[in-house]
Symmetry: C2
Subunit: 305 residues, 2 copies
């Protein structure tokens, strides 16, 4: 995957933003080591997902069907004109509106969770004979969404040896871990998940990918549901710790970011901040915390603040 990451990083130059790596005095004080934030929340379309979407779509000649809790769908809508995007009925309003504005054919499932919605999307793809693009379970998507982010982080924060990542389907974390451990074998990867949907933790305990989990009520829809059948085997030997955070801790993470860095981020992205400020992570070395996205509706932001 290393070669694929290099190729995609080259492809993405000038097509996506080189997002800032910003020093965090607040987290550095809390954790006792220098801590930086990788602000993929400032990325085009509001999340890292645009990386994989642009690359994957550039390679496909046919129309795609995809499934998304929101950010991947918004990214695909930006990258492609004819895509059908299936979303859970719990989709964040800001993400739904953005997909529609970008001209996508957005189809809302009858389910709150990602996994059931994906079943529905897969059936639709089979019926309509279209290509199903997974938001995470695909080598090119892992390489773009995780690998190219890691490449920038290691260039911009060369002293960092701990990487705190959000884990949903596992695309970002798997691609990131491959690049980081290739260049810095002694570095540590910490995956952060919702305590009610801890697919990575359950998968590590079971020794195989838990690809389905029941839907849970959360504003952090991007870290809800099972882990990928292809991402987990990549991640399994590379992850050093899993930190689980509650809904309340995630909301506190959103508030902390506004108070300390003046960025509004989405609840999904706040799992990493939540893990840091709730004392679930110990860092012995300089760390980078990945902030994955900013797409949250004004209504949900108001509830949280």
């Amino acid at each position: 995957m290393i070669e694929l990451i290099s190729e995609e990083a080259e492809f993405l130059k000038g097509r996506v933003r080189r997002t800032p790596v910003e020093f965090s005095p607040g987290l550095s004080d809390l954790l006792g080591v220098p801590v930086w934030l990788k602000l993929e929340s400032l990325q085009l379309t509001g999340s890292f997902k645009i990386r994989g979407a642009l690359f994957a779509i550039s390679r496909l000649r046919e129309d795609v069907i995809t499934c998304s809790a929101g950010n991947h769908g918004k990214a695909v809508a930006y990258a492609s004109k004819g895509a059908i995007i299936c979303v859970p009925r719990s989709v964040d309003r800001s993400k739904f509106d953005a997909m529609v504005r970008l001209g996508a054919d957005v189809r809302v499932s009858a389910f709150d969770g990602y996994d059931e919605t994906q079943d529905w999307a897969l059936e639709m793809a089979a019926r309509e004979n279209k290509y199903f693009l997974s938001p995470f379970d695909d080598d090119a998507v892992m390489a773009a969404n995780g690998g190219t982010v890691a490449k920038e982080v290691l260039e911009d924060a060369p002293d960092a040896r701990m990487f705190v990542l959000p884990v949903g389907g596992g695309g970002l974390s798997a691609g990131f871990a491959v690049w980081a451990k290739h260049l810095l074998p002694a570095s540590r990867i910490i995956g952060c998940q919702h305590v009610l949907s801890p697919a990575l933790k359950l998968s590590l305990d079971a020794g195989h990918a838990i690809t389905r989990l029941p839907a849970v009520e959360t504003m952090a829809a991007g870290v809800e549901g099972g882990i990928g059948a292809r991402t987990f085997p990549v991640l399994q030997p590379l992850v050093d710790q899993v930190a689980l955070v509650s809904e309340a801790e995630i909301w506190e993470g959103v508030r902390w970011m506004v108070a300390h860095h003046q960025y509004l981020i989405e609840p999904t992205a706040a799992v990493t901040i939540a893990a840091c400020i709730s004392g679930k992570i110990r860092c012995a070395e300089p760390a980078v915390v990945v902030i994955s996205g900013r797409n949250v509706s004004a209504e949900n932001a108001k509830k949280i603040l």
Copy 2:
């Protein structure tokens, strides 16, 4: 000032962020021309003020006293260790906290408005025999805070011919207008102000700078108070229109940015968005709207959302 702007742009390379110019589908639909946002809200320290502060401080050998509604103070605190920063008692909590965290000696005046607070700061500077750094009424500050922003905007949105700017003391707008009209003499400059504190409009009507205005109750403290005695003569022949917006329209502008671009910006910065979405601006040509900052407390953000 053109040479000074070029010199400062060179000085600032690598010291500040090259903030994105982002296309706005929503404003383009509303105004009927292509519209981009210059996102100085994503700048280091949360506003364009870091540009002037870094350059001005780099030239001074003595400790400074300055006065600020918040953003300039935060920028000076970031740029300098020993600065004394005078702020009105109405200062936004997020700005105050940030200055204190950056180690500044922050002194809160007994006044709600900027102008009275500056009188107090000037007296202090005279008494303690220190240099008073104006947040806007200084050539180097105008060149950095406005000129270098304009240089980036003209490079990144070469088709734009209308520039929508916030006007407080006039530093950003004066420096911006000098560069823009030098390179594009037929371009148009639109200044946006709070309807209760319309110093630019009053000054244009009077034919001289109105440097003092009574304090008004607003969350947009950065556009409250008089215009600079040095910025106004620069701006006077270059500004084409003044748009005045109400507090309610400003709050609506903050909400619009979250809904359409998913960025939380500060009320001061929302004067330009407010002018666009309230129909106070007509654009016949492609436009760039400058978003000056993001420093708003979680408490005020919640009230607005």
